[in-house]
Symmetry: D3
């Protein structure tokens, strides 16, 4: 049932991204509430709720991907927070970012590390 | 000492990437042996040998990043093999790839999944 | 209801991508049927079924994006076929690809044009 | 004749991008006026003046590509304005951006949607 | 005059890319001759003919960019040939590619180096 | 010896990037000093110290790559300064950036040119 995907997604969004996730969803309400709904239903309702991979590993994967892509700093910051929320240590996240220097180059790793610095300062 | 970075890197390359890693290194010998040496020294000697993150999490991060970037299939295949070598299950890797549909789009996830299919067929 | 998203998605997949879409879905069955299901449910069940934009414009957007990204030739070919299926003319698609030289550079436009050549030869 | 490409380009730039386009051109005068000239001559003189695709479809293609690439927010904003200028509705542009979640991931779609919010607020 | 941009471009294409460049242009004739014409006029007629940067430096810039982008191997191979044609040594090009490991990651450098190996084997 | 890679790297960093490079290194000290160390050792200790390519050509390659990638403005600005430091003229760098319109599109070239404008204003 659609309703349950949304409810499951909202629950996951709260557990994982916390306040930052809700702010993203709220900020979409006056421009495109359907994008908010899809963001809740598909990533958080369908994907993060799947049993085959623990949440800590999921956030490591997301932080790695967003660091490597290098063009989505707001989402990287949300997920660095999320990764800390689900049990990644600061040091583990620094290692993930450091490792991205190998796969996406030093600029990508540097920019992700500076984003993490902002996240830690803001917490 | 330079020598020890190289030796540590070779050891890690053998442990993680196995035969596939050595084939990459060999295939560089007649075109640019220094790129082979740097690939051993920096990623495998400096980064994968660091204690702050377990190898399984490191490979999850690498598979996520290479799936998201979407333009380095040979390296993705090497690291899908590597991930299996260091203890990731097939199912965990499918989850990592599936999750990339959220962050890099469905084409990136589909192409990474088909690369994984090739890897599993070749093992 | 989940079932209806899937059914709506399958219907759209058939109408838009035709045989090529079904081949993609089939080829996922032995590696990750859930990625097949999500590809049907979200892009085709949720997005392509929305009333606010005609299918021809949707395919123009997709061809433009995949040409610009430049790292997903199989999906570009599926959507060049799809674009022809929903009423884009060959000439309109050439214009879309040509225009991508401005936004993603000449190599991206050239590679997309050669993909289109393959599509036209295969039809 | 070179002169006519430039004149045709300036006319198209005015019609399509309006004041925002002229600001970009002006801001290049003290750093690299030839880049300004080429931007007028090739994209606007050569490409946007071609008859095979209507301007509305051209702007849909451009908005899709720039949303998917995700690293050129100033140009995306200029073309979201341009798209509105040549007859795209707000809702159609939201659909194009929403659709990019499928091909370039949710972060790309979210960032493009927030850029559109800025454009609408500024108009 | 349009004619002279095209003629200047054809001359530059011959001098720089040689036979490989002409093959690209020919292969476009039955799908989109205007993309062939624009590829001659803008990159080769307008840009490569400019006096402010020597051809060797221009090809170093192009090889660096295409290696870093990593999604346009055919064009990278054409320009590795072109770079050799205008006076870059094999060793200089290996250094350019090696350096890209810093800015775009090791997979990008490895794939560009293997493309160069193909180029050298084919010459 | 590790020590000499670091020392050689620090020397190169000073010669090439000057004060801007040292600021980047300093700003990493409280978040991840190892990333600072690796940035000195690998790019500046291993790569920029190699004899096969002059520093001016190395900076042209880096400016081209970072302009084309388009998602690392801080590093592009550091290397535009570095390029001027090692003997590139303003005009040569404008030509490199202009040329990127061909390989990565006009938005990438425009954003790199505006970054260069900032660099020149700040010097």
């Amino acid at each position: 049932m659609e309703h349950s995907r949304f409810e499951r997604g909202m629950q996951n969004l709260s557990n994982i991204d916390g306040e930052a996730g809700h702010k993203v969803i709220e900020s979409l309400q006056d421009i495109c509430p359907d994008l908010a709904r899809f963001t809740i239903e598909y990533p958080f309702g369908d994907i993060y709720s799947r049993p085959g991979l623990d949440l800590k590993s999921r956030e490591i994967a997301t932080v790695a991907a967003l660091s490597a892509l290098g063009n989505c700093k707001p989402q990287l910051k949300v997920h660095l927070n999320a990764a800390l929320n689900v049990g990644c240590s600061e040091n583990e996240l620094k290692e993930v970012i450091l490792q991205m220097s190998v796969y996406a180059g030093f600029p990508a790793a540097l920019n992700a590390m500076f984003a993490f610095k902002e996240v830690l300062d803001e917490r």
